[in-house]
Symmetry: C2
Subunit: 219 residues, 2 copies
DNA sequence: ACATAATACGAACGTTCGTACTATTTATTC
DNA sequence: GAATAAATAGTACGAACGTTCGTATTATGT
């Protein structure tokens, strides 16, 4: 249970080359899915090795510790999130279109089951929110990043004259984020088939109700 | 790993008496706290026994299996939730006061850290939403119950003439629930000190905006 | 009081956990 | 093609996992 927190990491991991990097990728790809289903603690070296038809030791050699594996898994999940949500959204012009892009791609991410077990970060958030250590810190940092991205999009929408400047960006972000997370929850746990439709409707109406006449068309 | 799903539970647990029930209560009280921090899977027989200065076997004798322990833990969490949220809220008169009571007591529950690790059911929801089995089913059923309670309160508020009858109760519940869950998330993971204040403000303004002139005073 | 049942314990089961050390196989480099 | 380094496998470890069993201790009912 108590990790060797004091002993500095000794294990030397060789500088990986093409092949090593490929297997590492394969491992982490699987790890992200397992973690999204079983949680980052439920993600075990043994099950991961079995599923990939590798030996435990061969797999483990790619990481210095389980904590490293968790960290790397979180990192890949972040990359996927950026690729599927943040980046496509940034392709849209600053202002309301970009803000809506963030939300739409986020909802689509979970709806399309890019992570087998629903929203990776919602699950990880609630799994680690009462723990300590680098994994929790990293998850929290990424979520700060995400909240920051939404808040920034709101501010830009105000600067672009698409959104009423009287609304508090932090507060709006809070609302938006809660509703989207509620959609994930209702969809995953309660099998609410209309969860995403409802979330979209609510978010769209919310945004419309505070948008200016100059705001570009919303879907 | 693979549970004996087919074999019916054989283990005979004696009909508990005063003493047995007392220790069982003590076990479960601790279990709820551990589970709210470490999750229902992270809740282990060994750690539970150590913390209670009991033997593993003596503790385990109170339950037929770990699954039973988890189930009993969930059940106690539900009782606590009912005691601290549902029941006090029902003391308020039907309509808007009762609806607001549900929300206020719910937020207070987590703010006052009744469960050491934040919101027990939000954590359990995201931990089990991609699994199968009786534990998941029970959690989902309890959450359905809870959503039902809010929805009913909304309907009553409409019948009482406190709330605009044009609003869709299911949809309003969806919104409300998302925002409250977002508050738990922001508070627990991001250490957002204003999370509950913000959530209250948002919920109150939301309710005010759709309340009728006949609606009793909101806080 | 004595018999019966409830309660708790200690020890052990087989399994899996994360991790470490040593081989062996597979690439790369000279 | 031999030397070197990377990549995987093999084996073993101590601890913890859930669970079972036999036994001692405590309470209850007669």
């Amino acid at each position: 249970m108590a990790k060797a927190v004091l002993t500095p990491r000794k294990k030397t991991i060789p500088r990986r080359q093409a092949r090593g990097l490929r297997t590492r990728e394969a491992i982490l790809a699987r790890a992200v899915d397992i973690a999204s289903i079983q949680g980052l603690e439920g993600l075990t070296v043994g099950s991961l090795a079995t599923q990939l038809k590798m030996s435990k030791s061969g797999l483990f050699a790619h990481f210095g510790s389980k904590e490293d594996l968790q960290l790397a898994t979180v990192e890949l999940a972040r990359q996927i999130f950026i690729k599927k949500v943040t980046r496509p959204a940034i392709a849209a012009p600053r202002g309301m279109p970009r803000l809506w892009g963030l939300l739409e791609y986020w909802l689509a991410l979970v709806e399309k089951r890019v992570f087998q077990g629903g929203c990776f970060f919602s699950a990880a958030s609630f799994e680690f929110d009462s723990r300590r250590g680098v994994v929790r810190d990293r998850i929290a940092a990424i979520m700060h990043e995400w909240i920051g991205a939404i808040t920034r999009a709101v501010c830009e929408a105000q600067k672009a004259g698409h959104l009423d400047t009287k609304v508090d960006p932090t507060r709006l972000t809070f609302e938006i984020h809660g509703i989207a997370m509620g959609a994930h929850w209702a969809h995953q746990l309660l099998d609410d088939k209309h969860a995403y439709f409802r979330a979209r409707t609510i978010l769209l109406e919310k945004l419309r109700s505070i948008s200016t006449p100059e705001c570009p068309h919303l879907p």
